[in-house]
Symmetry: C2
Subunit: 394 residues, 2 copies
């Protein structure tokens, strides 16, 4: 059941890169709480992040993985690095007003000699590093000078290894299959929850050679009153004739993600939707063409914006973001954004979700691709017609 | 698409109860970040919790809902309370090392007169109240004396209204259908991802009169090497003859959850699994019988433990926890636990997931029910045979 998803040598190379970044940031240790970062470094993969857990990475010596006692066995099965040093905190510490698991973890780290004076990074924007965890560690190990790590591990994850690109391609194939399932399912009278059912089944099944993993975000459908509103999920509303829906989904494989968005018109699309779709796709094409080594996110954003401006349009939100490993609630890496002021130098094997989402009043259009930065422009990992998809009604 | 799921009068009553609890805790304001708590108080329902968002509840006057600009429209569509006062922070603040959305939110709250001296509660164990959010608010509004709220809103949620019990019953029906789909899908040679596909489709579809919403946790299957290991998700392993799998899932309806767990034997179960199942179910029955008003979680735990002890067994982790509204990554309320030292007085319409999970070495058995505390003992919201389910092989 629980074969390792990542080779030990790959994990060791990742740890070395993280430690090099720690030296650059003058950190003596790093508290890693983001499940994607823990998976990246250790291979640990379980739905256990709803109770406190932590990977402590000292600059030298063995990292320590701390989690709930109930989950320590799962760590032994999947965390092919650091499994021997897993600290499982006692079950009675779960959900207590008077004490906290990280009080215990701090004591254990002290016993193991880690309560030494030094600069220790913490992940201030990680979803699963709660304020109580932070305060308990600060109080439990006052020797530490706790400093915000600025997504240190996330930045190390930005350029993918060849192994990771293979996983991302597999995720892209799953995404493409899930989008085909969505387009197939859309018919007049079909409720949105049925569309969700078909998409989620396709996401789990995957395709030959690439079984599906759970995506970090559920499929989202922008329809009806909510056609202009991102991030709503599904309802019991049914598709009507001559309507349109924007579909946001991802394929996931071994925790790697390839998101994909398309707008589907059921029956006759409105002229304004057709115009919006044509302009947006032209802009997306232009952005993809410049996603090559040596360019910047700002270049891609400018290429997109130039096309839109020629038609009197603009997009206020970013055009995309880096992707890779994801755990709920997000498949983004929280590092590079495709926006006007991001001057990060693009390098081969960075991977992005380029999402051209245009939400007007009462309607909207989305087209996105998951891509690899490559010489000559984006290497597209997903496979769906890059246009407004029109489904004829009988 | 986006009809209100909760009546305004219900939301107003909830706010009054929260404010009564705030007065009891001598709080002048409360920072609510848990998406379940925000939904409970405002009706806001979107997959937007991966960027910072907050509901500020002053003791008097209108609460303020703050979130990303892109999501403010979704708040207008679903948050039937406080939608007029939504603060949408500018898109360029997303994922910045140099500033943070909560810096902006603090400024806005100050402009609205909320930066007054007082005790302000924060949710120290909420998954989506990051340390950077906490630090930005502490720095931005030094007038505030920030104190940990000890899950104040979660405790208010503990006793359900009649409306909520109706939603929970609907969720229970969805859970029961999803479990039937799981049992139907298990056959020799079927891969675990196919089981996930069938379960997730059933969870989304729901049943007549109760459409399915996305559960806060994906379905989990304890199988093969991992049969004794909670919280692992699915793989590409295929069911073999004379094996067993423990299935953990939930039905969700309008964000309310009813979890349900069962172990299914495919072919002949081992004698030790049959013995474990019989004892565990007997213990579960005993625990359910005492879940009535006036008793305590400790009583239920004792009833279970007595049965197990008679067979030389014990369970180190808790026997269950309160449930209701859930958003990823958890459907528990983080308040009452069914364990030996929890002496909370049980009241009618508290709802629990009672999970008798026994993980031995190399095998395990689970049976759970979602229940309402009622006179005479638990009112069971889920419907599945309470025993080891045996599927004959051809």
């Amino acid at each position: 059941m629980t074969a390792a998803l990542v080779a030990p040598a790959e994990l060791d190379a990742r740890l070395e890169r993280v430690r090099a970044a720690m030296r650059g940031a003058e950190l003596d240790g790093l508290l890693v709480a983001d499940p994607a970062n823990i998976f990246y470094l250790s291979g640990y993969n379980a739905w256990s992040f709803y109770t406190p857990q932590l990977l402590f990475v000292p600059l030298e010596g063995e990292p320590v993985l701390a989690m709930r006692e109930m989950d320590a066995l799962g760590a032994h099965r999947t965390a092919i690095r650091y499994a021997d040093g897993v600290l499982g905190y006692p079950e009675p510490l779960v959900h207590r007003p008077d004490t906290h698991p990280m009080v215990w973890v701090a004591e254990q780290l002290r016993e193991r000699g880690h309560a030494r004076r030094g600069r220790i990074g913490f992940e201030g924007d990680a979803h699963f590093f709660a304020v109580r965890s932070y305060l308990a560690l600060r109080e439990g190990i006052p020797e530490w000078d706790l400093v915000e790590s600025r997504e240190l591990v996330n930045w190390v994850r930005l350029v993918k290894s060849d192994f990771e690109i293979g996983e991302m391609r597999a995720a892209g194939r799953v995404a493409s299959a899930a989008m085909r399932a969505a387009v197939d399912a859309i018919e007049e009278g079909v409720p949105l929850y049925e569309l969700a059912a078909r998409v989620q089944a396709a996401q789990a099944r995957g395709v030959a050679g690439a079984d599906g993993d759970y995506p970090a975000i559920v499929p989202m459908f922008l329809y009806g009153d909510g056609a202009d509103t991102p991030h709503l999920t599904w309802t019991d509303e049914r598709f009507g004739a001559d309507t349109a829906v924007s579909i946001e989904l991802a394929g996931a494989h071994h925790r790697y993600h390839a998101p994909l968005a398309r707008t589907v018109a059921l029956g006759r699309p409105s002229p304004e939707l057709e115009r919006l779709a044509a302009v947006t796709v032209e802009g997306l094409d232009a952005a993809l063409a410049v996603l090559e080594p040596g360019r910047t996110p700002a270049d891609a954003h400018a290429a997109f914006s130039r096309v839109l401006a020629g038609h009197g349009l603009e997009k206020r939100s970013r055009l995309g973001y880096s992707i890779g490993i994801g755990f709920p609630p997000d498949w983004g890496e929280r590092t590079v954004s495709l926006r006007a002021d991001d001057r990060t130098e693009l390098r081969e094997n960075m991977t992005f979700h380029v999402i051209a989402g245009m939400w007007m009043t009462g309607y909207g259009f989305e087209a996105s691709e998951s891509v690899r930065v490559a010489p000559g422009g984006a290497d597209v990992l997903t496979d769906a017609p890059r246009r407004l998809i029109v489904k004829e009604t009988p």
